[in-house]
Amino acid sequence: MAGPLSGTATERTEAATPPVAAPAPRRAAAAALGAGVVLAKRALMLAVLLAAVFAAVELLPGDAASATSDRGESAADAAARRRLLGLDRPVWERFLDWMTALPTGDLGTSARGEHVTDLLSAPFPNTLLLGGTAFAATLATALALGCWAALRPGGPVDRIVNVTSGITLALPEFVVSVGLLLPLSLWTGWLPAVTLTAPDGAPASWTMLVMPVLALTVPQAGWNARIVRGALADQAGAPHVSAARLDGLSPRRVLLRHALPGAWPAIATGAATSTGMLLGGAVVVETLFNYPGLGTVLAGAVSDRDTPVIAGVVACTGAVISLVLLCADVIRARTLGARP
């Protein structure tokens, strides 16, 4: 379990040291250098993760050639295919080949001889659409609920938001899915229970996105609403917020103009760590709703022991998560830079 339930708001301060009061050109150069270092760091982490995935798949018994062999195939055929797939070469050599081809957009060849890029080109955008919509819905819901609750600390809204978020954030996505599927689809027939695929590989209708997105959003919105509420509570005690309140500004204005800006870093970090949960949950929700995304590809690839496909999926999701974490870093650096 990655994000939500594991103390995610632990501050990481590495990227948050902007140079103070340097001349403008030098400051720009330093900022560019800093950005480059942060980017390189994130890329390096991704590379280490991919190496670990390669090693994990290699260390386990069986390999792609035997996992994809047809019934009645002789041992010699399997050995020939193993040679064809390059499985007789040492793992680090294949990993280096794969990594050096990565920057050109080449994700290698699967055990069944297809290009991994082709294999992922249709499902990956679908999963991104599902996860992205859920991310936007999560952020909007969490911000709205968190701010609403923060307007009257200890009031009925605050307590209701606190309790409901506590209930929803622990629910696995597939349980939420069942809770939605039965009333909204099977009993009333309002929404389609199964995703049908249009000729271009995308879901045939937007109504097929509603339930998967809701199933992903409900737990994550609960978690993020708590982070928003907590960050706003921390800001409420800050001197400039108390000053604004003492100046007689309306609570709404104090909240939106004075407390919220300072709360952005914590909110961004929380939302960024939700990305992994959203993408992971998407894989599960996809199987339940038969959604044409990475989940199906991945299930097949893992049972085939198809290292390039698995590494490709991990690379894609890892890149997305790195990008979102990078955005959170930028938001934190900007906020802290504006108010040193």
Partner: protein
Amino acid sequence: MSSAALTPARAPRARARVLLAVAPGALLTLLALTGPLFAPRPMDEPVTAPYAPPGTAALLGGDQLGRDVLSRMLHGGSALIGSALAVAVTVTAVAAVLGCFAVLSPTVGRLVERGADIAILLPPVLGMMLLALAWPGGGRFAVMAAALALGVPYAVRVVASAAAPVAASGFVEAAAAGGERLWHLALREVLPNLRATVLALFGLRFVAAVYVISMAGFLQLGPRPPAADWALMIRENAPGALLNPWAVVAPSLAIGLLAVSVNLAADALTPAARRAAAGT
């Protein structure tokens, strides 16, 4: 910790409230662990028609093979909760020890920090699929191993952030200057001061483990079909949800209730340590 020590007058009431919040989770866990004793029917034999609606033969109806849903429900929780508990205990113990070492030794600290940074790039479900399906026959143990590997990096980070101020305090420095060895400093000087954090961490890791292990059951990675597992039951009986909704609703409710009540308990354990430790 310190806040609890500073307000002794309110301690009994706070304790009662914590007990009240922990009770549902503990009760449900106890019920699930002793469930097989109450099962009215055999778990793995057909007693009624496939997807039969609730009736006298089976109180919650039949599943896809006509087996008694109620009996399977009563059998299905113990393994899920048992493995989640085992994972939570192990993750918490490993993290507690590693976290203490991490603040005392900069090398371990850097390793832990980097490990957690890298682990965040791998969604838990992906990591679990990798480990569980790539270790054929690993079944429940493969899932537990995956849950362990995925849980430890974050848990260590939580312990380390709580342990940092303790490690910098005078008595630890005095002990270090006195020539005590690293393991003595970690286990005898630092760890005993982190009881609240470790307790809260255990609650959160239990929630997380229930999530990961039920997810694996749903994806059919852990327990194999003849086994009764709540998450697996949902997956197996989904096609017949219209004929006998209880075959799907009952296990969903059970997992939902378990997740929520365990989370409420974890929440109740957290406040004292929250400010200092988790930073949320």
